[in-house]
């Protein structure tokens, strides 16, 4: 991707963000209600929380929970999904479990784990993993089902070993599905982590939101929310999008292969 198209993409995104902030500012200015503070007040609150050291502390705690849950959910869900795609019997055995996990409300899992294991860190993280894992498994199962049988034949003919099969054949075909699961995963996981923190932890962004909610302090609620959205957006801009571009550099041109 050249610098010009990258610049154009960035300016398109800035147009949307600017329009959104302008809209928010216009409504808040018109209402003059503390329940919808102006963007400037939210930014000032964010700076205050940052200067007092609370913002980074709670963001870091939440980010750690998000990353640990994300890694476990992707790893376990990914392996299960691929195995279910490749081994029909495994799919038949695990499919009902997957349907149940997909349909249990996130809140029920969180409450049950807190009731059974207490308000501990392991229960909090496990609740998030259990909520996300089935989505990853379903996405990567679809990916595993889309493997090109002609390339599989080629790999069999040239006697690819297990390492080559995984790295040269499966991983590149799974990559788009992994990216879908990653993007969806990050977005979903951090929302679930906030609920987990709100219900049973004494730190993290969710806990701060809980405190602010009791005081109807909307500026703090928005300050913490935007701070975390900014982090997720940074992950998207500086990790996921470059990774996506790097992995797609072979695309384009002929499609006979």
């Amino acid at each position: 991707m050249n610098a010009k198209s990258s610049q154009s993409r960035l300016s398109d995104q800035l147009i949307t963000l600017t329009a959104l902030i302008a809209c928010w500012w216009g409504i808040a200015y018109y209402l003059q209600d503390p329940l919808l503070p102006e963007p400037g007040i939210v930014v000032a609150k964010m700076m205050l929380e940052y200067e007092q050291g609370r913002l980074l502390h709670h963001l870091w705690i939440t980010l750690q929970r998000v990353l640990v849950s994300f890694l476990f959910a992707m790893l376990i869900g990914g392996v299960l999904g691929v195995l279910m795609a490749r081994i029909p019997r495994m799919n038949r055995i695990l499919d009902p479990l997957l349907i149940i996990l997909l349909n249990i409300p996130a809140l029920v899992v969180i409450i049950l784990l807190y009731v059974w294991f207490g308000l501990v860190e392991v229960a909090a993280v496990a609740a998030v993993i259990i909520n996300k894992l089935p989505n990853v498994a379903v996405t990567l199962r679809e990916g595993g089902r889309m493997f090109d049988p002609k390339l599989e034949q080629m790999a069999k003919l040239y006697r690819f070993n297990m390492r080559q099969t995984i790295t040269e054949l499966w991983w590149p075909q799974l990559f788009p599905y992994i990216m879908v699961a990653t993007r969806g995963g990050l977005a979903l996981i951090w929302k679930i982590v906030l609920v987990v923190e709100l219900l049973g932890r004494s730190d993290g962004v969710g806990f701060q939101l809980h405190l602010a909610f009791q005081l109807f302090d909307v500026a703090t609620i928005l300050a913490y929310s935007f701070a975390f959205i900014l982090i997720v957006q940074m992950i998207e801009w500086f990790i996921l999008q470059p990774l996506d571009r790097h992995a797609s550099c072979w695309k384009g041109g002929n499609s006979y292969v």
Binding site: L151, Q153, M154, K156, L157, E168, L169, K251, N254, V257
Partner: protein, 212 residues
């Protein structure tokens, strides 16, 4: 001498291919001709060990297979595609040179033409030093000029090698007479051997009338 025996092949409830017995001497080219859908590719898949039967009778030769589609990994460059099969970089570059692709070693398959991709697939096939090369309509979908170049290349790299045999599937009688020492014509449903003999016994008119 390689002896091949293929049992009847059934897909679903329909038999597509009757039992076949074929043989091939070292350095010989056997052309299999037949209409589309008569099971020519199925025969090659079985001979390559990708099917369900064990067709080789006496000794199991090292088999190379040029699929009809190049089947290169699209996310790897030509050189990387070949190095997965054979890790020696010098050997890979030398074989790419023999198919006139050394300048394109770092290109992705999507950046080259179908003819070039077929040549890269031929290079990959030859890297394994096969005793028998299976070719599934290697000139299909190529323009006349490119098809001619490909045929010359196949003839030079495979056909003229006295140690290397070839089983060449096509539906073009001209192509079969140009390259084959032996010709097998498949016909009917399920397909069975209609003719199996020396190419020199045949001319184009005879072969065309058999295929009608």
């Amino acid at each position: 001498m390689y002896e091949m025996q293929l049992d009847e092949i059934v897909l679903g409830s329909r038999a597509i291919l009757s039992r076949l017995n074929l043989s091939l001497c070292e350095g010989e080219v056997l052309c299999i001709l037949g209409p589309s859908g008569c099971g020519k590719t199925t025969i090659l898949n079985e001979l390559a060990g990708l099917g369900v039967t064990a067709p080789w009778q006496n000794n199991q030769p090292e088999v190379g297979y040029l699929f009809q589609e190049p089947r290169l990994l699209p996310w790897r460059t030509l050189k990387q595609n070949l190095m997965i099969v054979h890790p020696d970089g010098e050997r890979v570059m030398s074989i790419l040179k023999s198919v006139k692709l050394e300048r394109y070693a770092d290109y992705y398959p999507s950046q080259i033409s179908l003819g070039m991709a077929r040549r890269a697939a031929l290079a990959r096939c030859l890297l394994c030093e096969p005793d028998i090369v299976l070719m599934d309509e290697p000139l299909a979908s190529l323009d006349m000029q490119t098809a001619h170049e490909m045929l010359v290349l196949i003839s030079d790299l495979v056909g003229k090698d006295p140690r290397r045999s070839m089983i060449y599937v096509t539906h073009d009688p001209d192509e079969a007479l140009a390259i084959g020492d032996q010709i097998a014509v498949l016909k009917g449903s399920p397909a069975s051997l209609f003719f199996y003999g020396e190419a020199k016994e045949l001319d184009l008119a005879m072969l065309e009338s058999m295929l009608r």
